[in-house]
Subunit: 153 residues, 2 copies
């Protein structure tokens, strides 16, 4: 079942191809066996596969994604308010947020590990998750982004 779901597109293409081959065979019988002109057959093939090509191209070409940045101004009256919506949009976990907070305070991974009573490797894993979800490459960048979208003061 999972296999079917996962290969939905491939299966669809496979079925389409099979149907096409059937049509081909049918055309062959109709035009060759009854000795009508070969050229009509070839023409039909050409037309059919031109259509297939067009269909394939339309189906398979990815639509170009144009990202339009919509600026959202947030008024902060000095006090920090946690942006719940932004947090959910990132898909970050509670633990990752904890790590992020300590990160923003300038703590090293080792210090964060000690503070949360877990191993250094665990913190590294959390960091990777944070960077991926915030779409950044470095911890300083992560802190900047997190501050901008209202995850940390």
């Amino acid at each position: 079942m999972k296999f079917i779901l996962r290969h939905k597109l491939s299966i669809l293409y496979g079925i389409a191809l099979a149907v096409l081959l059937l049509v081909l065979k049918w055309l062959e019988i109709k035009f060759i066996i009854y000795d009508h002109s070969l050229e009509v057959y070839i023409g039909a093939i050409a037309l059919l596969f031109t259509g297939l090509g067009i269909w394939l191209a339309i189906k398979l070409t990815k639509p170009q994604v144009q990202v339009v940045e919509k600026e959202v101004y947030i008024h902060t009256n000095g006090d920090f308010v946690f942006n719940e919506k932004a947090f959910e949009k990132t898909g970050m976990s509670k633990r990752e947020l904890e790590v992020l907070e300590l990160m923003a305070k300038g703590r090293s991974n080792q210090e964060i590990a000690d503070a949360l009573f877990v191993s250094l490797n665990t913190i590294k894993t959390h960091c990777s998750g944070i960077f991926f979800k915030l779409e950044v490459k470095r911890r300083t960048e992560a802190v900047e982004t997190a501050r901008r979208i209202g995850l940390i003061p």
Copy 2:
């Protein structure tokens, strides 16, 4: 979310393998029908016109553009005032402040070097100076301290 992160490469390998299998299957089909010259001819026609169809579709259809709106949060807490007194107390130079500002934006040393048209080593030297004068050990800590004492927004 984490699943994708963890198996990014594996998924790519999977796709590559799938493509390879497809190619193999295609070759098989090609050689099975090899001994029927008419069918080879028909196949060539089919292939040719499929290509034509694809070409036509790509050439003639206007590129479909999918617009994705991305919200960019901007805090309008604009009441940042540079703390001149704190700045002088640190004994930092103008150049070091420049570096600090870029550092706070999450830039890497190399990126800062490129932005200021100096070498990476120079930036490292400046960083050392900044850390010494702010009495910190890491760049994230430096950013936190600088923000706290009012050197950067």
